[in-house]
Structures are given as C-alpha cells and as structure tokens.
Symmetry: C3
C-alpha cells in the first residue's frame, strides 16, 4: 500500500507537472488526494481553470420563449443573466450594473422590457448596451458602459455559456449534440418541474459518482431495472449479453430508417471523457431493457411523445458535458441535470423534467408518474456524495484504487480534470 | 473605459499613498475596487482605523434614565456597557471581567445595582472600579483590576463612545450637535420603538446609499413626497426652485425669532462629509415641502410636540456622524439610525423612533402612524444595499463613475474613508 | 497590572519554550492569552498535540453489548467506529472506506453484521479486515486495504480510544480507574438517557470551568447542597470542617470493610491534573454531605443500587481524564461527560445517565427524578462557558489572575495543556 501516497517516479500523462504547480501528486488509477476535495485554494483554482474556461450548461431555450424572458445562472459569487432578445436572439450578461455594481435582476427568472438597475435606473438593452442614465455628467460616454457580456451558444434547445473572455470553440460540441438532440425537441418542450438541491460535497465528488455504475446495484434499484450499464466486462453474463444483443438488433432494425440508430450498443457505460483527445462532451443513443420504453418506475410511457419521435421505442438519448451537465431523455420526457459550485464542499444542483410543449399537466401527464424515477435516482446519488465527502475530510482518508472494470470513466474524469488545472 | 481600472499617474488627494499601504488604488470620482467591500484584511483595517478611532453613536440618554440602567453596544467581537452611574453620570465600559474574561452583562439592556460577573461574582462599580473579589489572594491589589474604560461624551441627549485609548476631540461635534439637538428634547424623550436589522452588506455600502438621493425617485415613494433633496442642479425645475424659496422664506420668517432658522435652504443634499476639513459630523435644519409638518405618510403630525418646539412648523432637524449615525427629526418625533459592523459583508443596524417623554402610546400616538415613513424608507435602503453587495462580489464588478450632480457626497465619503485607513 | 501582558523574563516551568514555538507567552498563575481560545492555528495544534495523542473517552461497554453493535465518535472532521467484535472483543476503526473514502456508518449507533460501505459494498470484518470487494481487478491484494485502526482500551466498562499511531501507555490509567470503577458496575449498567450539547466555547474554556468550584456558590444551587468541594482553605469554617470530618469518619468505618474507603477526605477539589508528574487521569471516592446518598435534587436514592454496592451510603465515585472525560457516580446512578472539539469556538458535549442494567424505567426509576441534578448543573456550566468565550473574544480581554485558594486546578490544567502543545 505504500504506492497510494508515494510520489510517482518519472511521472505519467495523468500527473506530470503536478508537483511543479504546488498541487498534491496523484497516483494514476487511484483517487485524488484529500486537498482536491476540500482545500479552498484548490477550489479557487477549479473556478479559474475549469469553471471560468469551460462551456457551462445554463438551461433550455424553451424556458425563455419570448423577447425579454430571462433566467439567472449563479455559481459561487457569479450571477449571469440569460435573456431572450429581439428576433429570437439569446444573450448572456453579467448581472452587475456598471454604475455602482448592484445586481440588475433579483428574481431567479422573469420578464423585463429592458434591463433596468433597481438602484438608479441605469437602463440596458437585451444585448447589454447602456440605453439611459439619467443624471450623469455629459463628458461621459454611454458607449463605454455596456454590461459585461458572457459567451453563449445554443444547440438543439440547450443553452451553454462561457465566462472566459476568449472561450474555446463550441463547434465540435454543437456538431455532437445538435443532431442527436434535435429529434428530442427540447426547443419545443416545456418544463414540467424543476428540483433544486444544495449538496454538501465538492463538485468533483458529484462527477465521480456520475461516471460509474459500480454503485448502481444496491443504490439505484429503479435505475438498474431499465438499463444495461451497471454490467461490465467482469460480470456481463451470457444471458445479459444475449438480452442486449436482442434489443440492439431490434432497435437497429427500427431506428435506422428514422436516423435514430443506437450508438452505444454494449453493457457498461460509454467511454467519457477522453482526456487525451480533449473531449469534454459526448452523446449517444442506447436501448433500454426489453419491455421498457421510458425511464419511469414501470417502464411505461407517461407523457405524449416528444419532438420528432415516430413511436415510443426509441431507447434513451444521453448527453453529457464537463464540467456541469448531463441529460437522460426517453421518448416522452427528458431530464437535464446541471451542477454549479457554491463552495469547496457545496454544489448547487438543478434537475429539470421536460415534456412536449403541447402537453398539459393532469390531462397528458402526472408529476407523480413522471418524476419518481429520476428524483429517486438523483437523490440517492446526492446522499452518496455527502457521505463520501464526509469520509474524505477525515485524516484517515488515503487515496484508493479504481476498479479497472468499472471505474474507467472516473479515471478518465480525473485525468481530464488534472489536465485542466495543471 | 481603460480609466476605470488604471493606476492613477501622479496620484491625487483621494488616492495618494494608497499603493504604499498595499491597498488597491482608486480612481477619484469612481467607486471603490471590490476588495474594499469584501476582503477580510481590509475589514480588519476598517475596524482598527475607523471603528476603533472614531466617535460612535451608542444610544440616547433617555434609554437609561436611572442610576444602574444600562444598554450594550456590540460591534464585531466588541461588547461595551453604557451605564448610568451616580448623580446622573454616564460611563462606558468594556463588558469583559478582569478575572477570566466572562462578559458581565448578557442581556442587551437592563438595570443592575452593581456590575457583578455571573461567573465568580467579582463586583465592579458603575465607573468600572473593582469593589469585591471574594476568594482572591491578599497580595493582589483590587485597584489594579478595573474594567477597561471606553471614552464617552453626551450632547443634547445623544451618547457617543470612542474605543481608542487616545480619542480625538469631541468638542467641535458637541458644538455642532448640542444647539440644534437641544430644542428637539432627546434628553426628555422616550423610545416608542426600536427595530433591529442584520443587513448583508459591508458598512460602506450602507453609507454610500445614505449619501445620495439619486436613488430616491423610484425607491423611496414616501420620502420624496416630503423632501426637496432628491432634486439636484441638473433637474431642479423653476417650479421646484420657486416652491423651496417660498417655504424657506416662510420658515425663516417664523423660525428666526425662535432660534430655529433653516440652515440648509436649497434642493439637493447638504454637503457632507468634508474630507479636506476633517469634518465627520454635521447637522442642519431644513424645511419640508408645503403642507408637511412631519415625516409621516401624509405629512400630518402624529404625536405631541417634542422638546421646546413652539408649534409644528419647524421643518426637520438632520444630524449625521461618521462612521455610524444619522437622525431625522420632525416636530413630533425623531428617528435615529446606528450602524455597527459585524463582518466584512454584515452590518447590524438599529433604528429608534423617539417621541416626547410624556407621550403615551394609544392615547397620544399610534405606532401604525408613527413608524411607516421611516420603516419603509429604511427597509427600502437595506434591500438596495444587499443587492449592491451581491453584484460587487461578482468578478464582473469594476468601479463605475459617480454622478457629479448627484453623488458628490458619496465621493466625499469615499475620500474621508480613504484618508482614515491610509 | 503590567505583569499581565509582559513577557516573562527568564521563563518558568509553565512557559519555558513557548516563545520558541511561536505561541503567545503566558504568565504563570494567570489565564491564557486570547489566541489560545480562538485562533484557528492554535486549534489545529490542539488537535494534533492533544486530541490526536491523548486517550479519549469514547463511551461505555454496556452501549454495545452484542457482536456487531457499534457507536460513532466524531470530533472535528474525524469519525471513528467503536464496535463489538466476536467473543466480546472491542475494536475502534476509522469510519472511512479504503476505496473512495465514503463513511461506512452514517447512523450514530446501530448494529451491523459486517461493515459494508454503502457506496460500492466493500465489506470489512469487525477488526477492519477487508473481506470482499466485488469488481476489483485481481492484481490488487485485499490484505493491503484494511480499515485504519484506532487504539482502544477498556477498563471497568469505560472505553477509551487513541488516534495516535504510537499511543502512550494506558496501563497506569487502567490501574487507577479499574479498581474504583469496578464496584460501580458500568459493565453491567444501562444508559437511561443521553443529552447532547453543542457549546459555543473552546474546549479549554469548558475544562477550566470544570477544574474549580469557585463559581459553584451562585451558579450551582443544586450541586453545593450535596458536596463539600466549593469550600476551600480560605472559607472552610470550623463548622464545615466538623461536618466533613464527621461524615468521613463514618464513611471510613463503614466502607473500609467493603474496600470502598474514601480517598478524598477534605473540602476543596482533589488536586488534578499534575503537569509535573504527567498525570492526566485520576479517580477518588469522597463522601456527600450528611443526609445525602445520591446526587439528586433531594439527596435521596432514585434508582436501584448499581454494581457491587452493599448499600446506598457509598458517597460518590469521581473519575476524570484529560482531555475529554469526567464522571460523577452515586450509589444508584452514574453520570459521564465527554467533550469533543468541533471548532476553535465549538465543543460537542455528551452527558450520559447510567443505571443498573436490570433497572426498568417507570418501575425502578423515573427520568424526572434521575436527571435534574446533573442536567441543571451541566447546563449552568455550558451557559457560563459561552459567556466567557464571548468576553474573551473582545479586544479588551487581558489575562487575569487565578485565585491560589480556589483555582489551583485550573492552573494545573493550563500547565498540563502548555506542556502538551509546546
């Protein structure tokens, strides 16, 4: 066990250069040292190197259908307004007046005709341009005081923002998400319900939990009924292999003609992320188990078909983007999850349930049938994360080994993360 | 906009020497950089250089009419007992026993026959002298263990304390406040009600809000009905100028013979503070708008005349002292406001409503009519302050320009503050 | 009074070497400087030098009678499982899985058949040995991943643990506690009730309070009726001396034949700790006042006799161990108190009431009669501690002198403490 704490002689792709940054060394294949999960300095570094450089999932276009509709995205001390402008345009702006610094919007979402500061009524256009500032001296020029803009990209009804002044390209992510998301119809959806959580765990604890299904058997009794990804190379029995082959074959036959062919056709989780390739996003379509058409408690459809789906047997669409987004969508509803860091050991998590935009609650769907599958599965995970964070804080915590069968994606996440902050 | 963040070549009265102290530079005429509002080290410096050197408003003499009456003043980790001693004397003492350090008084106000420590009953006189200490060895001398004294001055019924071992002179402040406060009769008043607030904002945010009426039009619908100071050089119309001239002329005619002549006779706020002159206190009398005799919801008198006032038409008395006091008083009631810092982003604020000492609630006045004007105006401001603090905490906050028409007193406050902590 | 803050020329047993450590100097016979009570760095040092080297009281053997019964001990960020293994064995293990670091047990006490991590079901034996880890690669060896063990010793039904990898000897403490605790029958007792408190005071404030009865006269009206230790050399009158001699003589006559002779036979508290001798534990038997057989509100027996006691007139057994334990036991019940630090100004305190294992609530005893004496006395002390902490935090706090008559044990505690952290 000496290896767990030893410096790695000669380094490796996963750790080379960590020592030079003053960050604790990690042994490849093993969990991160404690400081990565609770040190305020490393948390500051995470904010600068990950959260202020990466593309962050903000929300859905269907949440702000009309000009002047907005919602806020708040992480740590940042507050960003995502707003629908004229002619369908979308803008992201820092929620900070250029005069005395007051926030402009206090409500988490709403509708405005202009962005007017509640303090002295400086008024900004939807794109951040300063329109009016009663009482200011004439030698100042309004053009010098726009709201600070935040980069924004939309694809398939999903809105991403980027706090960096020089954001990396979003094009490859759009090419990945767009075609798969389009038939789901997020742009024509409506939000059936939102649940907000404050989870007492570092954001990386939440991701590590998300990146393996090693914990699913005991912790997620609902989830494992519907899916194949808790089986891995070490425990996929011939019977399981036969089952997945059968549903894949049937899915391929049906979906190919609709352009909905499954792209993940094995047990186990699809490989993501790929630190070596710099891949922080991915999406795929995968079948559910025989007899299940939706991720609901009994596998039955619970709401009208969404988007362009011809029938219910379309498996599930899955999307994910680091550092803060994943989505599981069935024929009749989609579930988006967004993480936002609020402190070294605190993560704000929002879960959305979306249905077809024309669906009416009580008539076309009931929340009692729509929500439990992912509400239970999500809350099971948050509890796990808080227990893990508590143990990590102990002086007795030492890095442990990842299962090469089951935690390959956790290792991938850690490599991606270390590349980001190095 | 490069100017907002640029270092000031050559310096200025407002910023010269800031760099030498390690404090962030400020551009004159622009708001302070973020660190002044949330950095714990600058907060510590504020405590040492401002709060532990300045004269702090503590409360009113009428709150402790009898020997042994006391109230506590608590800021950050300090606790001070303000107590009425023998023959009308007033004392301020640190609320810390010289034995093991226990606080002596736990209740925020009350009456004691001696100051007896609840732990081992060491007993002190009202002036802090140690009177008794059962069980201590005879080679120690009680005279060596008085309570730590805090400087105290009273003027016109207002009590100020100073935590410095070598307090600056209070004489000029007394000369300013005394004659104007005397006719209001604070020394013969009674407290009708107290409201306590914990505002999530740096204390300077609260002062900057107080030092301009640029925000009044939209935020203070009650206040602007009664007053002229939300009009400034850029927006005082001939009609407004005529109105104020008319009420001033009438006031001068009436009040001169009573020694109550208005001293602020223009629209806009009186200039305060004056950093160059070292003026941290000021007071003036100013007329209300035609038809208003009191700062109440409809301008009508709601309680018996206070002090020496001959009739209701005495305009308003206004007093202010940095870093923690302001008061607005009408013919029938006075409202005092006291700030006390509790953290870098937390300020404890108390507002008092005072009426004539002989007034009886229910018979002579009703809280429902007495309180709303200043309760609403105060709470409108606290909300503004919390929104401003939130925006300032964002990485997108950058200093903005003050209106030379409307925020001259905010600039004056910032200059005074920077002089204090430099 | 210059002495209170002066550096001690030449040093002394109590302070020599403090300056070399960077810790604030203390004047012998005077209270500690402020930083010892609220500085986060000194708190970290207390954890390392005191709490992670000393033997800590954990609980009672009777709380975990059967194989698989456990309870948690949590201090600061540490969590320790104390568990009953096979054949009566007892084990203490860090509550941290060797895989991803999750805590194993989330409930504060309970029963398990194995220690199974709720995350991925790694399963450990009662002694921490890893038994099973489904899904891990075969090149890893389970023997390399036991739970981190914590030293544990039991004596007379009392369980102590030690977080140090090289714990100091417990033998002398066992020799002290064992013979005195045995007749009380803690090993055959049952817990009638537990009360948990979070006291806003540094742990040393709580101990200093415990180490003198100077505060008892006014603060503990119940306690002083039953005991002699609030009298000291300066105030033990001839009448009091006669009283204690009388009860001691009678006690000696009765108890000698039972092996229960009193070992503390004077007024005042027994001397403890002894820094020079390195003594961090002590126990003694002492008489109660005439007419009292139990520390209850009226001195009457309120539950069946415990352990081996032949009758009710056995005075009280008292045990104490630094840094976290004291116990007062009468013929019919025992009361244990345990401190655990949760922050620089926060201490978790648990108080247990124990009775004979065969006693049945409602039939043999009532909580209404069993609890008040020590519940009141304890809560009186916690209030004192919070008031002292508040005063110590003031800038006006300066060290004060201990009474040589009444606070000799507080001085002893401080000397012991400074020896530990130096």
């Amino acid at each position: 066990m000496a290896m767990a704490n030893a410096a790695v002689a000669g380094g490796s792709a996963g750790t080379a250069g960590l020592a030079a940054t003053g960050l604790p060394e990690r042994t490849p294949g093993w969990t991160l040292p404690q400081a990565y999960f609770n040190d305020p300095e490393i948390y500051r570094r995470d904010l600068e190197r990950v959260w202020k450089t990466g593309w962050l999932f903000a929300g859905h276009t269907c949440e702000i259908p009309s000009t002047g509709d907005y919602f806020l995205v708040e992480l740590d001390t940042e507050s960003v307004i995502v707003i629908r402008g004229e002619r369908g345009s979308l803008h992201a702006l820092h929620n900070v007046c250029r005069h005395r610094g007051s926030i402009l919007c206090a409500d988490p979402c709403g509708h405005v005709s202009k962005l007017v500061c509640p303090y002295h009524q400086w008024a900004y256009d939807y794109d951040g341009r300063l329109l009016a500032w009663r009482g200011m001296q004439p030698d100042l020029d309004k053009a010098d005081f726009p709201l600070a803009r935040v980069a924004l990209r939309e694809t398939g009804g999903l809105i991403f923002i980027n706090l960096s002044p020089k954001p990396s390209s979003f094009d490859a992510a759009e090419a990945c998400f767009g075609p798969l998301a389009k038939p789901q119809g997020f742009d024509r959806a409506r939000v059936a319900r939102v649940a907000d959580y404050l989870v007492k765990a570092n954001w990386k604890v939440v991701w590590e939990n998300n990146r393996e299904c090693y914990h699913c058997n005991v912790n997620h009794p609902q989830y494992i009924k519907a899916n194949f990804d808790h089986f891995n190379a070490d425990d996929t029995t011939p019977r399981i292999r036969e089952e997945i082959s059968s549903v894949v074959a049937r899915s391929e036959a049906r979906w190919a003609k609709e352009g909905l062919a499954p792209s993940h056709t094995d047990t186990g989780m699809t490989r993501f992320p790929d630190a070596a390739g710099g891949i922080w996003f991915s999406a795929n379509r995968t079948p559910l188990v025989e007899g299940w058409v939706s991720e609901t408690m009994d596998g039955k459809q619970v709401a009208p078909l969404m988007g362009d789906y011809p029938d219910a047997e379309v498996g599930t669409l899955r999307m994910r983007a680091l550092p803060n987004f994943w989505n599981h969508s069935s024929c009749d509803h989609g579930v988006s999850t967004r993480l936002l860091p609020m402190g070294p050991q605190l993560t704000a998590i929002r879960v959305w349930w979306l249905v077809a935009g024309t669906a009416v609650e009580g008539r076309d769907y009931d929340l009692e049938k729509l929500m439990p599958f992912w509400q239970l599965t999500s809350e099971q995970d948050w509890l796990i994360c808080e227990r893990q964070q508590k143990g990590i804080n102990s002086s007795a915590y030492t890095p442990g080994p990842y299962s090469t069968f089951k935690e390959y994606n956790v290792e991938g996440f850690v490599q991606w993360y270390l590349d980001m902050i190095r």
